[in-house]
């Protein structure tokens, strides 16, 4: 069968490998572009949020390329995104595309449903259980390698001497992961990729500001949906850490991870969790970034996203109590990046000034 899935950052590299090695044919989703947005806006309900519209566009593009099945995620809780796959199925049927949308609900929500869907994919691809588990394992390793490499690029970019060198090194590194087929090869590719990034010429005398990125998962994970925010920040000389990686909940060395309950952290401000989407996470993560000495936080929210709007109205209190500035960017159809750039530049000026004053005070204290 011809299988596709939503485009989310660089995860397509691992998912493409997964689909192909399950014995199916992968239709790689194109990076969301102006065309994706045009299609999405044309066929989506007007008041749907931007992730919905981008996905509609993506699904139509992959349907055009012959995809028969689209794998996506469901979701529990009050955020309407959990129901998007049903809406998308209706939309695709209505437009007359013969595509089936299969959504994976979180395993904890309905374990049986989760395994049944996996089972069907395995059987239709003709894999043994053992081979199937091996393929899943390598895919997972690939996802982790991709995340490691991407994280590293955000460490390196603020120091790069020539604009674009890190971005090109990142593309090269991801190619290595793309070409790996065995577990040891993935590990090797990961090492080699990290080395390529390490090799970028850097000006170590710089002292980058540290910025945390929080918000709704799709606009945080998909660079083309957030005006390539993290790349833009890096090129402005800012180190950024984002709260969500596909593999981040299994990590210990990241700021947002499984250790400690994020809802617990947010509880003094919102005694109700979850409120859907990443609303409570955004509050908790702002606190975590403040505790880790970050200079500021950017909240990315799709226009009209209720969980993020709830978070936004609580964040000023967090910002005051923890003395950390937060900039909220609402994301919608606009593709002009000038507006985002202006706000970020001003925010960077603000953070720089604050850091200067803070250090001055610290010196006086000594």
């Amino acid at each position: 069968m011809k299988i596709s899935f939503p485009h989310m950052g660089y995860s397509y590299i691992a998912l493409k490998w997964l689909v192909n090695h399950l014995g199916h044919e992968c239709i790689v989703p194109p990076e969301p572009s102006k065309k994706t947005l045009d299609l999405g806006v044309r066929y989506s309900p007007e008041f749907a949020c931007i992730p919905f519209k981008i996905l509609t566009g993506t699904y139509l593009e992959v349907a055009e390329k012959g995809a028969e099945i689209i794998l996506t995620s469901g979701g529990m809780g009050p955020c309407r995104a959990g129901y998007y796959w049903v809406m998308h199925q209706y939309l695709l049927d209505e437009i007359g595309k013969k595509v089936k949308v299969i959504a994976f609900e979180p395993p904890l929500c309905n374990l049986r449903d989760f395994w049944q869907k996996l089972h069907r994919l395995r059987v239709s691809g003709g894999l043994s259980v053992k081979a199937f588990i091996q393929v899943l394992k390598i895919t997972w390793e690939k996802i982790k390698a991709i995340d490691d490499i991407e994280m590293k690029s955000y460490h390196i970019r603020p120091y790069e001497e020539k604009r674009g060198e890190t971005t090109r090194a990142l593309w090269k590194a991801l190619e290595f992961v793309d070409e790996a087929n065995r577990e040891d090869e993935v590990d090797e590719a990961r090492q080699e990729g990290l080395n390529v990034l390490q090799g970028v010429r850097r000006d170590e005398s710089r002292d980058p500001l540290k910025m945390g990125i929080i918000g709704e998962i799709y606009v945080v994970l998909e660079p083309s949906a957030n005006h390539y925010l993290q790349i833009m920040l890096g090129e402005m000389g800012v180190y950024s850490d984002r709260s969500i990686y596909l593999s981040s909940y299994t990590r210990k060395n990241t700021i947002v991870n499984l250790e400690g309950d994020i809802f617990q952290v947010a509880r003094p401000y919102l005694n109700e969790a979850p409120i859907g989407g990443h609303g409570v996470n955004s509050i908790g993560e702002t606190i975590l970034y403040a505790r880790h000495g970050f200079d500021g936080v950017v909240q990315l929210a799709p226009f009209a996203c209720i969980p993020e709007i709830v978070a936004k109205s609580i964040i000023p209190a967090v910002s005051r109590d923890f003395d950390i500035p937060v900039l909220t960017l609402f994301i919608d159809e606009q593709t002009g990046k000038a507006g985002v750039q202006t706000r970020l530049e001003a925010f960077v000026d603000l953070m720089e000034k604050r850091r200067e004053l803070k250090r001055q005070r610290e010196r006086w204290a000594i």
Binding site: E31, R163, G164, Y228, I231, E345, F347, D349
Partner: protein, 320 residues
């Protein structure tokens, strides 16, 4: 010749140029409509401000700001390029040292800047909606055939401002038309619109911000007395409209230029007489990879002076 600094603010609606002397005093200012042609407008403005000051002052530094700040910096030869939020904050705190809040409403932007002890601590800018900015007021003024200059004064004459929905420009307009067809007079409708815009501003960009006096109101829209009055009423604070309210961004850019050349020593200013030069942009789609970036090339006469728009930076490197 005395030293002076030039600040240029190229926005969506207006292009402002300001020359300040060593004592931070404004010696010349130009306010032009951008009319969708930033390059020609900058050339024109530069020439006419040059006529005013070139005989007495030597330009020792140039700063640009506004949404066309990068483009204009290449044309003029700027020493510093700064975003308009920082520029406005710098200008405001140099005029009123103890300023705590800045309300700035321009052609398509509205922003709030919170300062404490002369440092910007917070700011917000409208993101997805331009209701309540200068463009909308312009449009309504022309619909009612009232010169925009008289718009604010008419609002002051209102006896009973009507209530108008300020959430969205389109809804505000249909609300206004509805009230107008019911026979309300223009004064009351315009005053109602001013109040609606203030409400929208406070709910949108002003949400959750601690607004303390002194409050400065600047940007082109501050010329509107009706809005000044509406802010006074809503905030219960007398807002201050500074003397150069409409060119504050440019003043900020000039002040920043003054600071920048202290380190840099020599200015990159190309001179006032650039209106003869033919600036043009041409673009092409890079075929290097699947990203297909649109690369913009900027020419001064026939010389390529800048390139941008590529994600990987490979074209940018080749430009001199």
């Amino acid at each position: 010749m005395k030293k002076a600094y030039l600040g240029v603010d190229v926005g969506s609606v207006s292009t402002n140029l300001v020359v300040i002397d060593e004592n931070k005093q404004v010696v010349a200012a130009e306010y032009l409509r951008t009319s969708g042609q930033p390059i020609a407008t900058v050339q024109k403005g530069l020439y006419s401000i040059g006529q005013e000051v070139a005989t007495h002052f030597e330009i020792a530094g140039v700063g640009t700001t506004g949404s066309a700040r990068y483009l204009s910096s290449i044309i003029i030869g700027a020493d510093i390029v700064k975003n308009e939020i920082t520029a406005h904050a710098i200008a405001a705190s140099s005029m009123v040292g103890e300023v705590n809040t800045i309300i700035e409403i321009g052609g398509q932007d509205s922003k709030i800047i919170i300062l404490r002890d002369g440092v910007v601590t917070d700011f917000a800018m409208n993101t997805v909606c331009a209701a309540g900015t200068g463009s909308f007021l312009d449009q309504q003024a022309s619909r009612l055939s009232i010169p925009i200059e008289d718009f604010g004064n008419l609002a002051l004459k209102a006896k009973n401002p009507v209530r108008i929905a300020g959430r969205c420009a389109v809804f505000a307009e249909s609300d206004m038309i509805h009230k107008q067809q019911l026979g309300y007079n223009n004064e009351d409708i315009i005053a109602g619109l001013c109040e609606a815009l203030v409400r929208n501003y406070m709910n949108n960009v002003g949400k959750g911000k601690e607004i303390l006096a002194p409050v400065l109101f600047q940007g082109g829209v501050a010329a509107n007395q009706g809005l000044v009055e509406a802010f006074n009423k809503y905030l219960e604070i007398e807002v201050i409209v500074p003397p150069w309210y409409d060119v504050m961004g440019a003043i900020g850019a000039a002040l920043l230029a003054r600071r920048a050349v202290e380190k840099k020593k020599k200015s990159s200013f190309k001179g006032f007489n650039i209106q003869e030069i033919n600036f043009k942009t041409r673009s092409f789609e890079c075929q290097g990879c699947s990203n297909a970036c649109e690369v913009v090339q900027f020419f001064e006469n026939d010389d390529l002076i800048a390139r941008w728009g590529d994600r990987c930076g490979k074209w940018e490197l080749q430009a001199v």
